[in-house]
Amino acid sequence: MNPKLRASLAESKKEYLKKVGQSPVQDLDFTTVSGEPVEILYTPDDIADIDYMEDIGLPGEYPYTRGIHANMYRGKHWTMRLFAGFGSAKDTNERFHYLLRGGQTGLSVAFDLPTLYGYDSDHGRAVGEVGKCGVAIDSMRDMEVLFDGIDLGEITTSMTINGPAIIVLALYAANAEKRGIALEKLAGTTQNDILKEYIAQKSFIFPPEPSMRLVTDSMEFCTQHMPLWNTISISGYHIREAGSTAVQELAFTLADGFAYVEAGIKAGLDVDEFAPRLSFFFNSHLDFFEEICKFRAARRIWARHMKERYGAKKPRSWLLRFHTQTAGVSLTAQQPENNIVRTAFQGLAGVLGGTQSLHTNSMDETLGLPTEKAARIALRTQQLIAHETGVSNTIDPLAGSYFIEAQTRKMEQQAEEYFRRIKELGGVVQAVEDGFFAREIGKAAYDYQKAVEQKRKIVVGVNDFKEGNEEDEIAILRVDDQVEVDQVASLERLREMRDNGAVQAKLQDLEAAATAGHNVLPHLLDCATAYATEGEMTQVFKKIFGEYKEPAYF
């Protein structure tokens, strides 16, 4: 910016701010939902020291601020991938077909709590929970039903599974192989981001060290045999849902990512071999612009660290590819139709932020799992964005905005500050054990709650604009208790019909491999093919690795 222009702008701005200082101001909080202050106006001087080529660049080029592909949505729209799963594999299979008919372009599987924790549906801990918040998967038989009529060689599947991720991956892959699809052709993602489980989602099973080993095992195996498979979806979504601010989501997610990179390198893998298959998963929350800046900052930070700190040479290793889900925690039970609007704004922010794949929430999710109609509206929301709003026509349209570039950089700087603090604490795992994340997130969550209760932050329908709350409830999805009964019976039949001798033998091989430090995935595949159950395989690991109890910091 030339000095004369700068001086004149500075002068005018001073006058302007004086005028503003004397004008009326509403009694509202002009901060983002994370509590970050936002200026009334941004001008060229706010980004005068940002270099376009170095800091912003072109799409598909380092540092990827504007997007990871040169052609972005002109080449292909983001994958419309709605998270789905409830009841039995058959129920969910029906929902998959419904969504595919509706135009979604990728699958995303939600598992029930017993499955997430490695319990079979007939385990004592599973009582009352089978099929309630996701699909019940106990064995390869359930996978067969789950994907019945779907060509796994032609579609990508994302599976939200963490503690027993490697086991469920084996169940999925074994099923695909049985149907004649080679492992090399399988494309999809296992969330498999155990670090954020300790931080936020809490569906861990084993302690950190053995869990990381399972992650590196999957990285090693997939690099060789399943090159199209994203081994980890390094997630910030859950961290944000647990109450963190946008910067915390950004920083903690990327810190986890760096930890995985370091683990992979430590395990002897070449960073350029596994890094291209690391993917990310972010939240898209209420504050429209804060989210867009977050996504852009994320790409830039990751590219910079991968290239400069970890010495990755392949451009594919520098790319931060991500899936986005609109913020479940922002939805209200009061006047649920408003959630359609919230989701639309949040989905739009994800698109303007350059996401590769998007899930939009259904309006009824504060009351139960999505009904067909609500899920359809959520899918249509994405289609409306893609085909009616025109935002896909050009890439990263908000680039160059004084506000957007200033905030993007600010978030990057704030994230770097967190990286320093985490490093001082001795890294992510150490920080988890010290309760660092729990305290940061807990405080942010509580501060937000107080802000809402004091009406410094308005939540429509909850602390203001409440007329309409008493209207009749909308229809919600119910998962019948019969699902549990049927699933337990089905499990019994499975145990009778399979070759139990073979299952035992395979489980023993698995135990030997796990104990000896060999890659467990080939053995898991063998177990899966023999119809060993998820619970049986998990039990082998529990015996060797132990179980994790979280220290519950406040």
Partner: protein
């Protein structure tokens, strides 16, 4: 000497969402109460054990997994059979209005759904004990 109200905040079942439970725990503490947070993955037996050993005035459950009917029922039964018939059971989470009615019929004293102001919870518990004082052991 008066004794502050003691509340057990429990996460029964496999549900791992603890944001709400922790926010409520903080709010109760700010409301002058003593809070025992059980941590995740509690079985009804574990909840009863904690409630008995700590002699809490109120037991509260936070459930977002859809398993609320089963869990509330089992906890209430455990408490009744374990000598805690007079201890109120309350809770919150993702619970449709229809189910709230059913839960109340089963002996759950109050259910606080999404969007509840935590001050309402504090007030409710205080009203149960007419002030901040525990009724325990007279």
């Amino acid at each position: 000497m008066s004794k502050p109200i003691k509340v057990l905040v429990a996460k029964p079942g496999l549900d791992g969402h603890d944001r709400g439970a922790k926010v409520v725990a903080n709010a109760l503490r700010d409301g002058g109460m003593e809070v025992i947070y059980t941590g995740l993955h509690q079985t009804p037996e574990m909840i009863l054990e904690a409630a008995v050993q700590e002699d809490v005035d109120v037991v509260s459950l936070s459930i977002l997994s859809g398993a609320h009917m089963s869990l509330f029922q089992r906890v209430r039964k455990m408490m009744d059979e374990g000598g805690l018939k007079d201890v109120p059971l309350i809770g919150g989470g993702i619970i449709p209005d229809e189910d709230v009615k059913k839960l109340k019929a089963l002996g759950v004293s109050a259910v606080f759904g999404p969007g509840t102001d935590t001050r309402e919870i504090v007030r409710y518990i205080r009203d149960l004990f007419e002030g901040n004082q525990s009724k325990k052991a007279d």
